[in-house]
């Protein structure tokens, strides 16, 4: 036991997850065992994984070859700082979601709990294997296992046709992405026939082939991450999946795509070109804006969060683009700053988005309602869930002193450094990008106020909400774990940056660790104190002290008298909860300002209608202008090919015969 390396512990953890899944299948119908024993066990395994990952982060890369798989083709695994960092995210966020899941899954909803347990833990284990894989073969096996297990989890409630459809869409786009990734590896191995990552690192591709590999990687991993225009599966699959699964998919699985992109572009490829960065920056920015604008007009709470994930992925891609740009100009320090911002956002998004998704799960269980138009006032019936979700909301809006703000701050700082670039055109454009990011962040705040305000505040829009109950102990514990991290990541950024430092150093040749440590743990100054500094702890203490002083002084100098009365009704006593802003109403200004983004279908009642109804539907342009035409072309082609299918054996034999003749003809030449 003493000589165990970190990677061994990680393999034990992955094995633990697989074992938990296997136990789940044995206790197929024993709901209590699955919920109360297996999921908490999975959570403990997650913590083990995270602990081992921290250990691995500090150490040197460790390589293992597992003799499984095809003969002559073993699994190569490698634990370096990049994979350890993502394992930390998987383990940390996975632990919280698993605890929540222990209280979440109920009996009699689609897939039996034992099977669900298997799929769930297989999903977790495959994500961990994806980031550990050190050859294309192992990577693709893990990647496909991840896609399939999450597909089955999405379709857990497979009796609902919409959910089945969402699942198929997800599967389709995941496979388009997988093909691109496979081709990317094909380019990377440069005709050597050796698909290990170690070999790929040694190849030096020409700029053309390197660009081809990079673009294929962007396409492949982008499809998984929800990059425009391959984002359409996200808003369908996330609402369909059970909430803990949505949390894992959004908080963790999307990050494996970010991992893949980082791995290919900084580790496997030996050179980085400037225009890759510009392209990725542009795609990322557009994805982010698109995501956030759509998020503001959603009426389904989980769809809203799904679009918000698209936004965050866009920001991450933009940060990677900036890193590439700096790296290609040989500015290692700035590349490290941008990459740190990216990785910081990876962690903070993993925690706050998981928190928000499991929060919607708790609401869904308490009310049976996903539509924002039927919710409201839940802070009075489920205070625990409401206040914990509020923390997630603040983190996700990028408000100080929580975690979202730190990554936003780092990202903006790295954008403001660009004047050092030798290209004057980029110099001009990139601060404008910083302004756009500020706009996106502010819109994210709008979205989150809508999300929280409509669900938890105001008066219940539906009578049945009066019977809503707060989350159970497991649910609260899982949410609290995630919320604590949202706060911790916000208040103590320096510790996390110390963990990110070993990741950025090998990838871009510099790290922030030493600079940050120089100012003590309470002050974050990524470059120099004169340039910029942020002290979240002081900031937090300042707000709290001001709050307490104001409260205390008002009490001491005046009084604390309070009277409860009915709200002011403007002289119109027949107000109902339905007169509050609806989700549509709250998003209406954004819908109006960004009208070209949406495809709107509006039915306005005429003045003579007896029962006037107003209906508006907001859909995606991409769906109508890109996906449906492609689908039509595919269908047309399929129809043509379908004519070959005659149903008569003789005809099929004829096909084979003709093919044989053709082949012989070819051989003869």
């Amino acid at each position: 036991m003493q000589n165990w390396l970190a990677v061994d512990w990680i393999l034990v953890a992955i094995g633990g997850w697989l074992l938990t899944g296997a136990l789940g299948i044995m206790a197929l119908r024993h709901f209590a065992v699955v919920a109360r024993v297996l999921f908490p066990l999975g959570s403990a395994v997650g913590l083990l994984l995270a602990a081992a990952a921290i250990n691995g982060l500090m150490g040197t890369p460790e390589v293992v070859t597992l003799p499984i798989g095809l003969p002559q083709l073993p699994f190569h695994l490698r634990l370096d700082s990049l994979s350890a960092f993502f394992l930390l995210v998987i383990g940390g966020a996975g632990a919280g979601v698993s605890i929540f899941a222990a209280g979440y899954f109920r009996q009699g909803e689609g897939t039996p709990p034992g099977l669900l347990c298997l799929e769930y833990h297989l999903f977790l284990a495959s994500m961990a294997l994806v980031v550990l894989a050190d050859d294309a073969y192992a990577f693709m096996v893990a990647w496909e296992t991840m896609a399939l297990s999450s597909f089955f989890l999405v379709t857990a409630n497979h009796r609902v046709p919409e959910i089945r459809q969402a699942g198929f869409l997800y599967l389709l786009i995941a496979h388009i992405g997988a093909i691109a990734i496979l081709l990317c590896f094909g380019v990377l191995q440069a005709n050597t026939g050796d698909y290990t990552f170690a070999n790929m690192r040694e190849q030096s591709l020409s700029p053309f082939w390197a660009s081809a590999a990079f673009l294929l990687a962007v396409l492949g991993f982008g499809a998984k991450a929800g990059m425009l225009p391959l984002h359409v599966w996200l808003p369908e699959a996330h609402p369909a999946a059970p909430s803990p699964v949505s949390a894992l998919m959004s908080g963790v699985m999307l990050k494996t795509a970010i991992y893949g992109l980082l791995r290919v572009s900084f580790d496997l490829l030996h050179l980085q070109l400037g225009w890759w960065g510009v392209a990725l920056l542009a795609i990322g920015l557009f994805t982010a804006l698109y995501g956030v604008v759509f998020a503001t007009v959603q009426t389904d709470m989980k769809r809203l969060l799904a679009y918000s994930s698209i936004e965050n992925i866009g920001l991450l891609l933009a940060a990677i683009g900036l890193t590439l740009l700096f790296k290609s100009y040989g500015m290692a320090e700035l590349a490290a700053l941008a990459l740190t911002a990216c990785l910081y956002h990876v962690v903070s998004h993993a925690f706050f988005k998981s928190l928000l998704f499991v929060g919607t799960g708790a609401v869904l269980h308490a009310t049976g309602e996903r539509n924002l138009g039927h919710l409201g006032g839940l802070i009075r019936f489920m205070p625990w869930v409401a206040w914990l979700v509020l923390i997630g909301v603040f983190a996700s809006s990028g408000l100080p002193p929580l975690s979202g703000f730190v990554s936003e701050w780092l990202l903006l700082q790295s954008f403001l450094f660009t004047p050092g670039l030798p290209n004057s055109f980029l110099n001009m454009l990139i601060p404008i990008v910083a302004a756009a990011i500020a706009l996106i962040a502010a819109l994210a705040g709008y979205t989150m106020v809508k999300f929280f305000g409509i669900i938890f505040l105001g008066q219940p829009r539906d009578g049945k909400l009066q019977h809503a109950h707060d989350g159970g102990g497991w649910e609260k514990a899982g949410m609290a774990w995630l919320a604590v991290w949202c706060i911790g990541l916000g208040l103590f950024p320096n510790f996390i940056i110390q963990l990110i430092d070993p990741v950025t150093t090998p990838l871009v040749g510099a790290g922030l660790g030493r600079k940050v440590a120089a100012n003590g743990w309470w002050l974050l100054a990524p470059t120099s104190i004169e340039r910029a500094s942020y002290g979240p702890v002081f900031f937090f203490i300042g707000v709290v002290v001001a709050f307490l002083l104001a409260y205390g002084l008002v009490r001491v100098l005046y009084h604390g008298q309070l009277r409860r009365s009915a709200p002011w009704d403007c002289g119109y006593p027949w107000q109902t909860p339905r007169m509050q802003d609806t989700a549509e109403g709250f998003g209406q200004p954004i819908r109006q300002i960004f009208e070209p983004f949406f495809r709107l279908e509006r039915h306005v009642p005429s003045p003579f209608d007896v029962a006037p109804r107003y209906h508006v539907s907001v859909t995606d342009h991409f769906w109508h202008r890109f996906y449906l035409p492609v689908a039509r072309v595919v269908e047309f082609a399929a129809e043509k090919v379908g004519r070959l299918q005659q149903g008569r054996i003789a005809v099929y034999l004829l096909y084979s015969f003709l093919t044989l003749l053709f082949m012989l003809f070819l051989v003869q030449r």
Partner: protein
């Protein structure tokens, strides 16, 4: 923390708390004079605050704890923000903890809290106010950030104290990009402080009010805190404007003597600023709410152009 640092920090916050209602009174007085009224006098805001503190608070039955906590949070955020902005001296220990970006974040915290509190009661007005406030916020916040970016590109720092140091205490230079930033900033300040072209602080007309709709349910000490916070916000924005565009007279580090004359200079500058604010408010008409996004988008784009001009002219 050095003693002078502590002193100037405490002085900055105290000056803000005391002067903010006075600034409000000054602006209102001038507005009254422009309208040929006698006006309530300079000290009216203090009297109003005192009256509100003495009265009991009436809270709606449906209010959650969030509603009651919000006024204190908003007040705390605004008081803290006045401690970050270099009003009197550039020696502010707190400004290490929060730079310009964090300051914008602090304003955002206050905005989100007050909007959530407005939605908490569940009346039509509250959510209407929250929606409009967030609408203004989502455009004003990036515009403000971009203004700060322009200033920080000039001075090479996002810390407000360093920005002021480099603008005020170095060799005098004209920065054309700041002309754009200044224009954008004044647009943003009008919107953020609910002043006339965007919102009218003196009206309760349902269809047009923004800020007043948010705080409709507040009374007594809660309302007093919110009013005070609004005054502090006006003060903070005025001081940001003065610090970025007219930074002369702010004391340097380790210079307690300069602190003495920094106070009258600040009061003088605020007096002129308040007069101009009242003048602009009196001669302009309130715009339709649908024009507000356009107004703020213009501000945002002006700020972006300011940044561009910085690169165009190299200054």
């Amino acid at each position: 923390m050095s003693p002078t640092g502590f002193l100037s920090q405490a002085l900055a916050i105290l000056a803000a708390l005391v002067l903010a209602p006075l600034l409000m009174g000054w602006v209102n007085q001038w507005r009254a004079w422009f309208q040929n009224r006698r006006g309530p006098g300079l000290l009216q805001p203090y009297r109003t605050l005192n009256k509100l503190f003495v009265k009991e608070s009436v809270v709606a039955e449906t209010a959650s704890p969030l509603f009651r906590a919000a006024p204190y949070v908003v007040f705390g955020c605004m008081a803290l923000s006045c401690g970050i902005i270099p009003t009197l001296s550039t020696e502010l220990p707190l400004s290490l903890a929060a730079d310009a970006i964090a300051l914008v974040g602090l304003f955002a915290v206050a905005r989100v809290f007050i909007s959530l509190a407005a939605m908490d009661i569940g009346t039509a007005f509250g959510s209407l106010g929250a929606r409009r406030e967030m609408l203004i916020g989502f455009l004003a916040e990036p515009a403000l950030l971009t203004v700060f970016f322009t200033a920080s590109l000039i001075s090479g720092s996002t810390a407000l104290t360093s920005i002021v140091e480099s603008l005020a205490h170095r060799e005098f230079a004209i920065y054309p990009s700041l002309a754009f930033a200044g224009l954008a900033f004044s647009f943003v300040s009008f919107a953020e402080n609910a002043r006339v072209p965007v919102d009218n602080p003196a009206t309760h007309l349902e269809l047009t009010m923004i800020h007043e709709a948010l705080i409709l349910e507040y009374s007594g000490r809660h309302l007093a805190l919110i009013e005070w916070a609004a005054a502090l916000k006006l003060f903070a924005y005025s001081c940001i404007g003065l610090a970025l565009f007219f930074p002369w007279g702010i004391a340097k580090v380790q210079d307690p003597g300069a602190l003495l004359y920094a106070v009258p200079v600040l009061v003088g500058k605020l007096a002129i600023g308040g007069f101009l604010l009242a003048l602009i408010e009196s001669v302009s008409a309130k715009m339709r709410i649908f024009r507000v996004p356009e107004f703020l988008a213009t501000a945002f784009l002006l700020a972006v152009i300011g940044m561009l001009v910085h690169f165009l002219l190299g200054a």
